[in-house]
Structures are given as structure tokens and as C-alpha cells.
């Protein structure tokens, strides 16, 4: 696909073009890289590749020159189990700084790209920075840049252009989320013994039961990110939770968490009139009826 073709083009010729862009945007007076070593990171299995990457990073930092690591492998502990991550590239600066490079195929038109896509790229890169930091603390003289280089096609062409993206905010958010995640073992402990999500070797019905066993907190944002979103949405609608209509409703409606409760409170059938939410909902319903919205 175009994305892969573009990445190959950016990294072609030993990464000269990529390093030139990086030096131009965040070189800070260092010597231009020209041709830089690109260590071989091949190894068996993700652990092997992660170890090989750590070694290559240490060697490059000690060497004190530019180095380009193409598709390094990084490990990060997520909810108690290791996850392996593969950034597009990591560049080692002569002063021991490491910079994550993210190559995307969406265009930067007049030096501006689609904000939602840039945001997604920044969140993705922040995870790489976090994983790199685990390696950097074990490496003498190394530090990880909290800005990443985003490389995109320029305007309507296939020529690369780059922009420095500050990911400190995304880093803080990801860090906090990672510490808050429930450990996988804790989640597994709550499931009935023998539950499996294996697609082969069990019927559709038993797979559905297994999925049902895991509680989910659905919000409309899930639709953009998760394949189970329609399943969770169906369940949330069955239960009549107001969050299925948007996260902000939860804050607005306070203790009234289901559609039924809110409407009953609005009609004056239930709810404590002293509760400010109930009073507000009743007032809103009265005003809406007065203004001519059809009642039923």
C-alpha cells in the first residue's frame, strides 16, 4: 500500500533523507549526519530483537555519533504482561539523545495535517517514548527526547516533509493510564474458570458467553477503536444506560444513570424533587413541553 511505499522511500538510501530532515528540524547545531550507521537488529523472537535493540542503542550512544535504528523492538509492561512495540525508526544523536521517528502516509498540506490524525500519531509515539525510557535509564549518557519527529508526504506529492511534535502531554496521560490499568491476572481471576476467547475450538454461543462474562464500560468513542463496540453498544442499550448516548451525559445527569430513570424523573413519577438533577430535568421537561415539543 501507499503507506509502506512512502516509508520505504523515506528510509531509502541508508536513511539519508530521513536524517537530513531530522537534522534540519531538531539537529540543534550538531554536525550534519550525512551517512550514519544503521545497525542490524535482526534476532530470533521479540525478546531477542528487544535485547538486540537495547544493545545497539548502547553501542550507538557510546560511539557518540549519529545512528539510525530501523524498526527497533521495544518492550513495555502493560497490565502486568510484556507488550512488544515496533516504532518506525529511532535516531541516536551524537549527544546521546534518542528520538522516535513516526512515518505516516496522511499528507501535510501547507505544513498542516488533519489534527485528529496527528493526535493519534502523537499518542502512539508517546508509548514508544515511554518504552524507550525504560532502556535509557539502564544506559549511561542516554536520554529520550520528549518531542518526536512526524514524517508525512508534503502537499499532494510523495516527497517527505517533517514536523516536530511535542508529546509531553500524551506521555503523562499514558503513564497515568498504565499505572491505573487493572492487572490481567486480576481480571482473569474474576472470570469463571475455563473461560477462553479462542476463536477455534468453541461454538459461537460459548464464545458469546465468554465475552458476556467480561464487564465492559461502553461509550460511543469505542466505535472508532474496538471491534466489539457494536456488541457492547447493544448491551448498553439493553440496559438503558445514558452513557450510550455520550460520556458527557453522565456528568450532566448525576445519579440518574438509565434512560428510564431520567424520563420517569422528568415526568414527575419518581425521584426526589430536592435532588438538583431531578429538579433540573423536570424544569427542562416543562419548558420543552411549553415550547411546543410533542408530548406523549
Amino acid at each position: 500500500m501507499r503507506g509502506n511505499a512512502f516509508e520505504a522511500k523515506v528510509k531509502g538510501d541508508g536513511g539519508t533523507e530521513l536524517l537530513r530532515l531530522l537534522h534540519e528540524r531538531m539537529g540543534e547545531g550538531a554536525e550534519p549526519p550525512g551517512q550514519a550507521p544503521t545497525p542490524d537488529l535482526a534476532a530470533a523472537g521479540p525478546e531477542g530483537r528487544a535485547a538486540r535493540t537495547a544493545l545497539a542503542l548502547r553501542e550507538a550512544t557510546e560511539a557518540g555519533g549519529w545512528a539510525l535504528l530501523d524498526h527497533p523492538m521495544l518492550a513495555l509492561e502493560v497490565a502486568g504482561s510484556p507488550a512488544y512495540l515496533e516504532p518506525d525508526a529511532v535516531v541516536v544523536h551524537p549527544d546521546g539523545r534518542w528520538t522516535v521517528v513516526e512515518i505516516k502516509s496522511f499528507p501535510m498540506i501547507d505544513a498542516a495535517a488533519d489534527p485528529s490524525k496527528v493526535g493519534a500519531a502523537a499518542r502512539q509515539s508517546a508509548v514508544y517514548v515511554l518504552a524507550l525510557e525504560r532502556v535509557a535509564v539502564l544506559t549511561k549518557g542516554a536520554s529520550v527526547d520528549h518531542s518526536v519527529l512526524l514524517v508525512c508526504p508534503r502537499d499532494f506529492s510523495n516527497l517527505p516533509t517533517a514536523s516536530v511534535v511535542d508529546v509531553r502531554k500524551q506521555l503523562a496521560v499514558t503513564r497515568r493510564q498504565l499505572t491505573r490499568l487493572s492487572r490481567i491476572e486480576d481480571i482473569a481471576d474474576e472470570l469463571p474458570p475455563g473461560t477462553t476467547f479462542d476463536l477455534d475450538g468453541q461454538s459461537g454461543a460459548s464464545l458469546a458467553t465468554a465475552v458476556e462474562a467480561v464487564p465492559a464500560v461502553y461509550a460511543p468513542e469505542c466505535l472508532a477503536a474496538c471491534e466489539l463496540a457494536f456488541h457492547c453498544r447493544g448491551r448498553a442499550r439493553e440496559q438503558g444506560t445514558v452513557t450510550a448516548l455520550g460520556r458527557s451525559l453522565r456528568g450532566e445527569l448525576g445519579s440518574l444513570t438509565t434512560v428510564e430513570e431520567v424520563l420517569a424523573a422528568a415526568r414527575g413519577e419518581s425521584g426526589d424533587p430536592a435532588d438538583p438533577t431531578v429538579a433540573a430535568v423536570r424544569r427542562a421537561a416543562a419548558l420543552r413541553a411549553e415550547a411546543g415539543a410533542p408530548c406523549h
Partner: protein, 529 residues
């Protein structure tokens, strides 16, 4: 989302049908809008794949790029698009009325009336969704700096003659769409969402098919089920029954139907180029035409459901009566169209890639003003919108229980009657706060005096009562009148003027330098557009 809109959504969940959020239509709809449904190529951000365009719902023009990676075919598409859109725009540009506008004489500083042209109506573009508006902007950006062979004989890939002009119009329309309340370029989903609340989230409301399923479900079917079908249901061939409204296409369509068809087209084209004699060429040309026809058929099948959906949305919206102030806002759209028409006639260069500081500041000011005007206008046009403002304490409706004549304490006393009102609303009133009501379409101002022990509130009416000692008849409310007062102003005051461009301080970009003509994008072998 206000609590009233939230409540409407919850009612929609319960009843299985969308609930009204407005009693009038808050956007002007043209008698003869141009509907534009574009598709883009997957993975080639911005390369057009095809489009349906036209003003007649029964006879759309289908434009197709059989091989989106081919520059010549893309240019053909854009040229055809220009042929479909520009005559529509030109028809409106020619029909003018004369009107007066006051202009300041640069030498004397006096205001004088000048007679100017204003287009009698403006062309209106409707796209299915917000992504469509962005795509119009993208197309505009890609086309407006192109050079035609006439402008630049040395251009390596000259654009077809009318393409740069279409780029400038698309850019203008997309830019105007950022002004709140403007109606030159509208997204069908935005229009529907303004007027109805569905039983789903605002994210899901971006799906035109699902949205229509809630607003106008097939007889007897609950909206949620109809919407789910619009989102997910696939036919026996694995294709969505309600294809996405674009510009992005469904991956299943790209992989299973489109990719093989484009490949057949490529093969047929190569075969034609390799043909050695006329007879074989004729035969292969036939194959190429057949391959192209197949792609046209596929794209038409993807586009037609969206095309009908946009027209159905327009039908639904036309059932609502147009708000008075929506019609007034359309006049500023007409001014905007006339202004751009004049800039093009005057031979001004295309809009720059980036606005300079002064232009950007002016645009921002105008949009803020338009936003405030829109909010006030919608509330005044529509009791259901006003209900939301009343709930938030920005307006209140009450019955006049007493009118006390009073006068100001100046040498020539003017009427300043006091009104006592009883209201169930809870406005956020501080002492001396100004409130406004609509009197024959003009705002009348009053100030809040105090609360009476019983909870009634006292207002002092300040203007619109004539010059005489006694107020003009009908200008002061009478006992028993029910009146809605607002805490926000009905009309926006003019913003403070920005300094002349020559006097712009360096902190704000400085005086404009010599106008440098924008260069066209340098062509590269792998251009997308």
C-alpha cells in the same frame, strides 16, 4: 448539549423516533441546490475516485476516475467537475439587483451612499457530511494554484482551462462554511442534527443513513433497529446495503469489487497500447470501454443510495417553515458570494495558502460575531431554542401583573415605565442588568430594578417609546401580556475597527509587504491530485 437536547435524545430512545429540536428551519435552503457526493480513493488521501453532482435529483451527473493513480484521468475528472459546477455558479452571478451600501470616503471621512450590485440569489452546495465539506476544501486547495496552458505555456502538466477557477470557488465555499450560520455549503448531517435529536450519540449521528433511519424510520420499525441496519447490514454479496456517505469507501467494496475492476481496466489499457493493427485496436478499445463502464456501474451503485439520502434529507427539512432570521442570514451569504464573484472578475490572485495576520484577525472577528448573531437569532426565531436559553438562565418569560407609569428625572422627562412581572424561570439577573424583548422585530431595552417580596421582578423600560412625554401607543406592555425577555442582545454591535493594514504593528505581522504571487505546487512524478 443542553439538558433540553439531552432530554430530547432520551425521549427519542424511548419512542424509537427522533424528536424535534427546532420548530422552524434555521438554515436557508435554496430552491435549486447543487448536491455533490464525492468519493475518494482508499489509501491515497485526497485522490478523487468519483462523484455524483447535479441539481436534478432524477438526473445526476456521474463522474468517474477509472484509474485514480493516473494524472490525466484525474485532470479529466476535475475538468468535467468544473463543467458541471461552474455553469451553475455563473447562472447566479449574472442575476443581480442594485442596493445601497454606505461607504466612508477615504479623503473626507464622510459616509456616503454608494450603489452596489448584490446577486439576487446565491448558489448553494450540499454535501452528505462534514467529511464532504473537508473534501471540498481539499479539492479547492489542490486546484486553485494550478496553471493552465494559457497562463503558463511552460507548465509541465497544464491543468484544463476552468479547473483553477473551480478551485477558487471551492476554497471560497469551504472557507465560508466555517462561518457559523452560513448556508453556502452545507452538510446534510449537520442540517438534520440541528433540527432533530436521535436516540444515538452525536458520533453516530455523523452516519447519514443511520440518522435518516431515526428521523424517518420505515413504517412501524423502531429507529434503533433501522439505524443498526443502515450501519451494518450487508447483502448476499457481502456489500453494505447502505454504503458510507463518503468520501471514504467501504474496504469490502474496495477489495472485492473495485480493485479487480481497476485491474481489468489497467490490463485492457495496456493491451490497447500494445495493439499492432487497427482491427486488434478496435477490439481492445471495446474491452477498455467495457472495463470503464463496469467501474462506472460499481461507483454509481455506491453513490446512488447517498444521493437519494441527501435529497430525502432536504425533503424532510423543507417540511419545516424557514425562520425569519435564517432568511436574513442568507442575505449575508449572498453578499459573500457577490464579493467573491467581484474578486474573480477583478482578476485578483487565488486565495493565499495562509492568511496574513490582519486577514486572519478579521475573519475571526466576523466568525465570533456571526456565532453570537446565530445564537441570538435562533433563540428569537424558535421557542424551542429559547426554552434552552430560559433553562440556562439567559432568558425568561413572564406575565405582566402591573404597569406603573414613571418618568426620567431630566429637564425633559421621558417615559420610563416600571413593569412588574411574574415568572417561573430563574434568570441570572444582577441589579441594573439590561434585558431585551422583541417589539415588532426590533429589540426594546429594559433594566432590572429589583425583586419584589412575592418573587415578582420589576423592570424599567428604557427605549422605543417615542419622543413625546407619554409613551407611543403599543410601545409599553400592558397588564396580562406574556413576554419573553432575554439577557443577551438581539443584534450584535459592530466590533472595534482594526487599524488600517499600513498601521498594523509588527507584533501582529506588521504592514503587509509587497504582494507576492503564490507559486503553484511543484509537480512531482507521484502527485496525488
Amino acid at each position: 448539549m443542553s439538558l433540553i437536547a439531552t432530554l430530547a435524545r432520551l425521549e427519542a430512545v424511548e419512542s424509537g423516533r427522533a424528536q424535534p429540536l427546532a420548530t422552524v428551519r434555521h438554515r436557508h435552503l435554496s430552491e435549486r441546490p447543487l448536491v455533490f457526493v464525492p468519493l475518494t480513493t482508499a489509501g491515497e488521501a485526497g485522490a478523487p475516485l468519483g462523484a455524483l453532482v447535479g441539481t436534478d435529483r432524477n438526473a445526476p451527473t456521474l463522474l468517474v476516475v477509472p484509474q485514480p493513480r493516473d494524472r490525466d484521468l484525474r485532470f479529466t475528472f476535475l475538468a468535467d467537475l468544473a463543467e458541471a459546477v461552474l455553469p451553475y455558479l455563473d447562472a447566479y452571478a449574472a442575476d443581480i439587483e442594485l442596493t445601497e451600501r454606505s461607504e466612508t470616503d477615504p479623503e473626507t471621512g464622510k459616509k456616503t451612499k454608494v450603489e452596489v450590485e448584490l446577486c439576487a440569489d446565491a448558489p448553494q452546495l450540499i454535501v452528505p457530511g462534514r467529511a464532504g465539506v473537508d473534501f471540498v476544501r481539499l479539492l479547492g486547495r489542490s486546484m486553485r494554484f494550478r496553471r493552465t496552458a494559457e497562463q503558463d505555456p511552460d507548465a509541465p502538466y497544464p491543468a484544463p482551462p476552468r479547473v483553477p477557477l473551480l478551485g477558487r470557488w471551492f476554497t471560497h465555499y469551504a472557507e465560508r462554511a466555517r462561518t457559523p450560520g452560513a448556508a453556502l455549503l452545507l452538510a446534510a448531517t449537520d442540517l438534520l442534527n440541528r433540527h432533530w435529536a436521535t436516540g444515538q450519540s452525536s458520533l453516530e449521528d455523523q452516519h447519514l443513513g443511520a440518522l435518516l433511519a431515526w428521523i424517518d424510520p420505515p413504517a412501524g420499525e423502531p429507529g434503533a433497529e433501522a439505524a443498526l441496519r443502515a450501519e451494518l447490514a450487508r447483502g448476499a454479496d457481502g456489500q453494505l446495503l447502505c454504503p458510507p456517505a463518503g468520501p471514504a469507501t467501504d474496504p469490502a467494496f474496495d477489495n472485492r469489487l473495485l480493485a479487480p475492476a481497476v485491474e481489468r481496466y489497467d490490463r485492457a489499457r495496456q493491451a490497447l497500447q500494445a495493439a499492432e493493427d487497427g482491427l486488434a485496436a478496435d477490439d481492445r478499445l471495446g474491452q477498455l470501454t467495457a472495463a470503464e463502464r463496469e467501474i462506472r456501474r460499481l461507483l454509481a451503485a455506491q453513490l446512488m443510495p447517498t444521493w437519494s439520502a441527501v435529497w430525502r434529507a432536504l425533503d424532510l427539512l423543507r417540511e419545516l417553515p424557514e425562520g425569519d432570521r435564517a432568511a436574513a442570514r442568507w442575505t449575508s451569504d449572498r453578499w459573500s458570494f457577490t464579493g467573491h464573484r467581484d474578486r474573480i472578475t477583478a482578476g485578483e490572485p487565488p486565495q493565499p495558502r495562509r492568511d496574513d495576520a490582519v486577514t486572519a484577525a478579521t475573519k475571526l472577528l466576523r466568525r465570533e460575531r456571526a456565532q453570537a448573531e446565530l445564537e441570538a437569532g435562533e433563540a428569537l426565531d424558535d421557542p424551542l431554542v429559547m426554552a434552552g436559553r430560559r433553562l440556562s438562565g439567559e432568558a425568561f418569560a413572564g406575565e405582566v401583573v402591573e404597569v406603573t407609569p414613571a418618568w426620567s428625572e431630566s429637564k425633559r422627562p421621558s417615559p420610563r415605565p416600571l413593569l412588574t412581572l411574574r415568572t417561573d424561570d430563574a434568570p441570572h439577573l444582577a441589579e441594573g442588568a439590561k434585558v431585551y424583548r422583541s417589539l415588532d422585530g426590533k429589540p426594546q431595552k429594559a433594566e432590572f430594578v429589583a425583586y419584589e417580596p412575592g418573587g415578582a421582578l420589576v423592570l424599567r423600560v428604557l427605549d422605543k417609546m417615542g419622543r413625546a412625554k407619554d409613551p407611543a401607543p403599543g410601545s409599553v406592555p400592558e397588564k396580562g401580556d406574556r413576554i419573553c425577555w432575554t439577557l443577551f442582545e438581539h443584534e450584535q454591535r459592530g466590533a472595534p475597527k482594526l487599524p488600517d493594514p499600513e498601521a498594523t504593528p509588527w507584533t501582529h505581522g506588521g504592514p503587509p509587504g509587497a504582494a507576492t504571487a503564490e507559486q503553484p505546487d511543484a509537480p512531482t512524478p507521484e502527485d496525488l491530485l
